[in-house]
């Protein structure tokens, strides 16, 4: 037994009591969907967790009608302070049920419990708490006095941070006075459905939030529904494009938070050990299922070998396995489909001449797994340097000068995030100025906060989530076009 062999320390599942099946959350009640129900599983074991309803067009129609009724009759007539109080209630209920939500999230998503417990769920509560306080202060959101809600917001979220993305969407929408129809990702619906129970406990008026589960067709029905005033989408750039096309000419307001291929730039004067931690966090956090992941390491040429060697050493200490084990660093890939995509791209990387390396790592027999992998000798033209892999795969490239680092970092249609590691403040600020990225982390990576706007340049989408910018995405100026 080496010093790395820990005894198993699994978090108890007893705190989560899943029902055998879940309906749609419409107008304050769980109801059956008209589509064919689908099973939802644990990606770590492929264990069946529950049966989930599919919302068809008719169900989406009912959800939008419920949201419209709630908007017209209840939510738009409430004072800002009362809206805020509901959000404060929700924040507290999330805190009270935090462990349950964390376990459910790790079960359904495959992410390590230490991440769902210490990052996802605390941030969910923080997001509701932050926007709760905005609800009666909209005059200060930057749109002038008496800004108006947009109406019914249709929101579609991804599977990588299921409940956190729900919070990013619902909290500002409700604070601004909108009502919501939200579609969780097909592979990770459970925490959204537990959240619906929280809404019942908070006594949120029926119809203010409606949750419709299903696959792409459900999302399409929501995007195309004429009764929706605003679409907010987080997901792939390909789907984002489709949504932008589908909403063209409809007058629907649109915010898109899409893909990324972030550069994490390590200069030779960086505190290397800290930088290694940041690089590891940047790409292996949440199995690399992160749109802002630091998936391209740009390392200054003279420290390349040292950085790669230390990176390999650090990777050798990462523990991959049971997401519910408190010692686990790397959990399961969320789905077979995603695993196939990672395999396809890494195979392409190898064919194009890059050299993969993974630490010795035993993968569980069941479920979807991919060992943490780094590629050296990656060309800027290689697919693994250009396309979003959305997995625990790091592509390492080199540069000589800050100008070259900026040029390489910006050499992508994406522009979501970037990282800079250096001990020199003036260099950090100058490089940050040159980067076309919506979020720049210097000497840190993958930090999130409800007060801090998040969103991309170029094909990473438009609009911001978080901060007052995130609030204004759900508002129109008084007497505005809406």
């Amino acid at each position: 037994m080496s010093f790395l062999d820990y005894a198993p320390a699994p978090e108890s599942r007893a705190i989560v009591r899943l029902r055998p099946s879940y309906g749609l959350f419409l107008d304050g009640e769980f109801v059956d969907g008209h589509g064919t129900p689908f099973p939802t599983i644990s990606p770590a074991t492929e264990e069946h967790l529950a049966e989930v309803a599919t919302a068809d067009e008719h169900d989406v129609d009912l959800a939008v009608a419920a949201a419209r009724r709630a908007y017209d009759e209840v939510w738009s007539k409430l004072s800002g302070s009362d809206r805020g109080k509901y959000l404060f209630r929700i924040a507290r209920l999330v805190q009270e049920r935090a462990r349950e939500l964390a376990v459910a999230e790790s079960l359904n998503n495959g992410k390590p419990i230490k991440e769902s417990r210490d990052l996802d769920i605390p941030l969910v509560a923080a997001w509701f708490f932050y926007y709760a306080g905005w609800a009666d202060k909209l005059d200060y959101a930057g749109l002038g006095a008496n800004p108006k809600a947009l109406g019914v917001a249709g929101q579609i979220i991804p599977w990588n941070f299921p409940l956190l993305m729900l919070a990013w969407k619902i909290a500002p929408a409700l604070a601004a006075g909108n009502t919501v129809v939200l579609k969780p990702a097909e592979t990770t619906p459970l925490t959204a459905l537990l959240f619906a129970e929280i809404l019942q406990q908070a006594d949120l008026p029926p119809g203010v939030v409606n949750i419709v589960t299903g696959a792409g067709a459900t999302g399409q029905a929501l995007v195309r529904h004429p009764g929706v005033d605003k679409i907010a989408f987080t997901g792939s750039t390909a789907v984002g494009r489709e949504i932008a096309r589908a909403t063209a000419g409809t007058g629907k307001k649109l915010t898109l938070e899409l893909g990324g291929k972030a550069a994490n730039i390590v200069f030779d004067d960086a505190p290397i050990d800290q930088a290694i931690e940041g690089v590891v966090n940047g790409i292996f956090f949440n199995q690399g299922h992160v749109c802002c992941a630091g998936s391209r390491l740009l390392v200054q040429e003279n420290v390349h070998d040292d950085v790669v060697e230390r990176l390999k050493h650090r990777l050798s200490t990462l523990r991959l396995g049971d997401p519910l084990d408190k010692n686990t660093d790397i959990g399961a890939i969320n789905s077979q489909e995603q695993l196939d995509r990672i395999r396809e791209l890494t195979a392409a990387g190898e064919q194009e001449g890059a050299t993969p390396w993974s630490p010795p790592c035993e993968l569980p027999a069941n479920g979807f797994w991919y060992a943490p992998t780094i590629f050296t000798g990656v060309q800027a033209s290689s697919r693994i340097a250009r396309e979003e892999i959305f997995g625990p795969v790091l592509s390492i490239l080199t540069f000589r000068t800050p100008q070259e680092a900026i040029a390489k970092a910006n050499n992508t249609p994406y522009g979501l995030s970037a990282g800079i590691w250096s001990d020199k403040g003036s260099r950090i600020l100058a490089v940050a100025d040159g980067l076309k990225a919506g979020v720049v982390w210097s000497n840190t990576f993958n930090r999130f906060d409800p007060a801090s706007p998040f969103g991309g340049y170029k094909e990473s989408g438009y609009g911001r989530e978080g901060g007052k910018q995130g609030l204004s995405a759900y508002l129109a100026p008084s007497g505005g076009a809406q």
């Binding site: 063209a248 210097s442 000497n443 840190t444 930090r447 340049y457």
Partner: protein, 289 residues
């Protein structure tokens, strides 16, 4: 005996120069009552692409100037416009058939708008940006930055649209450091080319504003689908198939402003500056003392 006038050749304005259309095409510009005024260049797809190349090349320099400097250059444009007040009024009278008094008032309005926007250059970031009180030892600040290359279909109708509408659409995009390719009023393109002459003599680097004359219906689709255009202002595209243009723009996820059909399209507002900016948020660790 009256002096024989020397009429001007109205050409395109691309990259700080005044080329003819590479296609060799022109179209007749007539006054309201049908009298011949000029043969304006009928810009082609290639002209539009040349304009985008020039605009892209100019982004780094223009966005890289200090806000104070950019404000002064924009103010300088207003100064030079003021000096050519009579010329612009005359062109409005000839192209749009406005009474002289109305035309002069429109020129004054256009100049005053330009001054208003010039003053925003070193302020908009303070109003739109902010420091963020994040829950941790980080310095965290959000600042708006220019989006890049903005393609504009200028207003095509309404009194004095060919100058006031044009300037109202172009000026806000420039404030933050974007560069512009603008498709002028098809029926009344003279003011737009004269504006190019003003820009060429106002310390505005070549390529920061590029003016195309001709058919918006022909040129706009090339701009909407061009991968090196970051944003599309369809303020004057109401008579075109603008929904298709918005769909074309979705291919590279351009930021899009939709057509306005009110009496004062692109009326002055901070929103028009904000529409073509990107918020960048920078986190920096704070160390222990």
């Amino acid at each position: 005996m009256t002096r024989l006038a020397v009429p001007k050749t109205y050409k395109l304005y691309i990259g700080g120069k005044f080329p003819r259309s590479e296609s060799g095409r022109t179209y007749e510009v007539a006054s309201k009552d049908g009298a011949f005024l000029a043969n304006a260049a009928l810009a082609s797809r290639k002209d539009a692409r040349d304009a985008v190349v020039a605009a892209r090349a100019a982004v780094k320099g223009w966005a890289g100037t200090t806000a104070y400097n950019r404000g002064q250059v924009l103010y300088r444009i207003a100064e030079v416009l003021e000096g050519r007040r009579a010329q612009f009024a005359d062109e409005l009278v000839r192209t749009e058939g406005l009474p002289a008094v109305t035309a002069e008032a429109a020129v004054d309005l256009a100049i005053d708008r330009w001054v208003w926007y010039a003053g925003w250059a070193d302020k908009y970031a303070q109003v739109l940006g902010n420091g963020n009180p994040v829950a941790g030892p980080y310095f965290n600040i959000s600042v708006p930055e220019p989006t890049g290359v903005v393609a504009i279909v200028a207003p095509q109708a309404g009194p004095a649209h060919s100058l006031v509408g044009l300037i109202s659409a172009v000026a806000p995009a420039l404030v933050s450091g974007n560069t512009v390719v603008v498709v002028a009023s098809q029926a009344a393109p003279l003011s737009a080319i004269s504006l190019g002459e003003v820009l060429a003599t106002s310390d505005v680097p070549g390529g920061v504003v590029n003016v195309l004359t001709g058919s918006p219906a022909e040129i706009a689709p090339w701009l909407a689908s061009h991968a090196d255009v970051n944003a599309l202002d369809l303020v004057g595209a109401g008579a075109l198939d603008w929904v298709q243009l918005q769909m074309d723009a979705a291919e590279t996820l351009k930021r899009v402003l939709i057509p306005e059909d009110g009496a004062d399209p692109a009326a002055p507002s901070l929103d028009r500056i904000a529409a073509f900016t990107e918020t960048k948020t920078v986190w920096h660790t704070k160390g222990l003392l």
